[in-house]
């Protein structure tokens, strides 16, 4: 009798296990076929020899595409541009997004939710529409140049410059910085701030010693998201950078659809994916270390 007791429980647990797989099966099948397999195929493709006469040679293997990534000055120039533009965009998002999230969190209702929605909803509007909006503002005949001329200045070329790409990328990425900073500000106990103030700490000291340490995880998380998204952005550099100002994503597009050199494009795409995953994993690692530290 006693030895028979655990049997139904084990049986029930196995039954539950199977239900878990059964319920996830449709999603798993789709993700295996349209996510895992295509990524593996692209990895394989990036090692295939490309011949401008015959195209992709699926049975010939080479490292030359990855070597070209590291050695070709044309690619290096585009990587460097992508890196510094993304880094600058990230910095600007921190400088604008962190104070803005703090200001929002100190607003009273209903202004707080109204402005939160106003600032974050552009996120849901097509990036093509937003890029077009910036080309209207920054074009040779655009509003910004009209304002410069009205103030007595000479019109400047803004569109199809790094400036246009950076401004539009900050516009697209700012919500991704504000959201995590806002979230960590919500966890901040307002009593801690008040306590510090009532004990005679100055406003700047409260910021430095109470608020900033609390929002740092949010800032870091926003930094990684913004940098990753900026480095792989396609429509903004494509529409506002023009043909000559290429970034990694527009370079991949050209390799695939203009040069038809798919293996080279695949190598760049895989490199981009690896850099992105590396950024995300290092973030996870950092979070885990923080948790361990706080647990002693």
């Amino acid at each position: 009798m006693n030895s028979a007791m655990p049997a139904p429980a084990t049986c029930a647990r196995q039954h539950r296990d199977l239900r878990g797989y059964l319920l996830s099966a449709p999603a798993l099948a789709l993700f295996a076929a349209l996510l895992v397999v295509p990524l593996l195929l692209t990895l394989v493709l990036s090692f295939n020899v490309f011949d401008y006469e015959v195209g992709i040679r699926a049975d010939h293997w080479t490292f030359e595409h990855y070597l070209a990534l590291l050695g070709d000055s044309y690619f290096l120039e585009i990587f460097w541009r992508t890196f510094w533009i993304s880094a600058l965009v990230t910095l600007l998002c921190v400088v604008i997004g962190v104070p803005e999230a703090y200001i929002l969190s100190r607003m009273g209702s209903p202004w707080r939710s109204i402005f939160l929605v106003v600032i974050l909803t552009p996120l849901l509007i097509s990036v093509v529409v937003r890029a077009f909006g910036w080309s209207l503002l920054l074009g040779a005949d655009g509003l910004v140049n009209h304002a410069i001329q009205a103030l007595g200045g000479a019109p400047i070329k803004l569109l199809y410059t790094p400036f246009a790409v950076i401004v539009a990328l900050v516009h697209v990425m700012l919500p991704f910085m504000i959201i995590p900073v806002w979230t960590s500000l919500q966890k901040l106990d307002p009593a801690a701030e008040q306590a510090a103030l009532s004990l005679g700490a100055s406003q700047t000291k409260v910021m430095r010693l109470v608020v900033l340490p609390q929002v740092m995880p949010g800032v870091l998380s926003g930094t990684l998201i913004v940098f990753g998204l900026a480095a792989s952005s396609f429509a903004i550099p494509g529409l506002l950078g023009g043909r000559r100002l290429k970034m990694v994503a527009t370079l991949v597009y050209d390799q695939y659809l203009a040069d038809l050199n798919w293996p080279m494009g695949a190598a760049i795409a895989i490199a981009l994916l690896l850099v992105n995953l590396l950024i995300m994993l290092s973030w996870n690692h950092m979070i885990e270390r923080r948790y361990k530290k706080s647990l002693g």
């Binding site: 929605v117 994916l273 992105n276």
Partner: protein
């Protein structure tokens, strides 16, 4: 009751202007009576909106986008609800892996997914097929539904389910009468969020659409790289209007601030 000083409020106003400026300008230029991209100074005109409705290719792309977003969001919901319930309710080996896998399209650049799917579709000979485009979009937007379903399922009060179970309700009745109604706002919110994301998607779509299956954002992207005229502003204004309607719906069924910054 604002604790912000004048300096903070000035900064805040500048940020708001910066965020809204490109959208407001697009909507204003759409009403220009001129042939150039200028603000309507001498009265408003609907001529560029009329021009949009005379362009069969734009109407076709718009129809493609609506169908695509509707089908992909529905399919994503159909697979994300059971997967989300399995992940929150059941213990099974590989559960965490599945959770990471199903959320991974959020952190994989769409560009990479686009070229990867282009390779698969080329090998299968299905590039430019609408059905495969729907499946591709489903993968990309499933995480949005899944996140809201998981959040809703975690928030459910389990005692009602346990009461029904102890009263002898079957598993299906339990799901239909108790669990489903309680997670319905999460499902509806997830569907709408998925719909918007599919409707806006351009980077992946540009690789795997043919002229016949071109979506509106792809059509707009290609059009904007070739020529810029006020018709583009009119199309953009229509897209903004459609997005606004979806956002109002999203706010009603789930709460826009909850979707944007999570639950608190």
């Amino acid at each position: 009751m604002s604790k912000n000083g004048p300096l903070a409020l000035t900064f805040h106003s500048l940020v708001v202007v910066f965020m809204l400026a490109p959208l407001v300008v697009v909507c204003l230029v759409a009403f220009t009576p001129e042939n150039t991209l200028s603000l309507p100074t001498a009265g408003f005109s609907l001529r560029w909106f009329e021009a949009v409705f005379e362009r069969a290719d734009f109407l076709e792309a718009f129809k493609n986008s609506l169908q695509l977003a509707f089908l992909a969001a529905s399919l994503a919901t159909l697979i994300a609800v059971p997967a989300g319930l399995a992940i929150t309710r059941l213990q099974f080996p590989g559960r965490d892996f599945l959770n990471v896998l199903f959320l991974s399209p959020i952190i994989i650049p769409h560009l990479v997914l686009g070229v990867a799917l282009l390779r698969l579709f080329a090998l299968l000979g299905v590039n430019g097929s609408f059905t495969w485009l729907v499946l591709a979009h489903t993968v990309v937007i499933t995480p949005y539904v899944l996140r809201l379903v998981i959040a809703a399922a975690i928030g459910v009060d389990r005692s009602a389910e346990q009461a029904a179970e102890s009263l002898g309700a079957s598993r299906f009745t339990l799901f239909r009468k108790i669990t489903l109604p309680m997670i319905l706002p999460g499902i509806a919110g997830g569907w709408l969020l998925a719909f918007i994301n599919s409707f806006d998607e351009v980077t992946l779509s540009i690789f795997v659409t043919s002229p016949a299956t071109q979506t509106l954002p792809v059509k707009m992207y290609v059009y904007a790289t070739e020529s810029i005229d006020p018709m583009m502003a009119a199309v953009s204004a229509l897209v903004i209007a459609l997005t606004a309607v979806t956002m109002i719906l999203l706010d009603r069924v789930y709460g826009l601030d909850r979707v944007l910054v999570g639950k608190h």
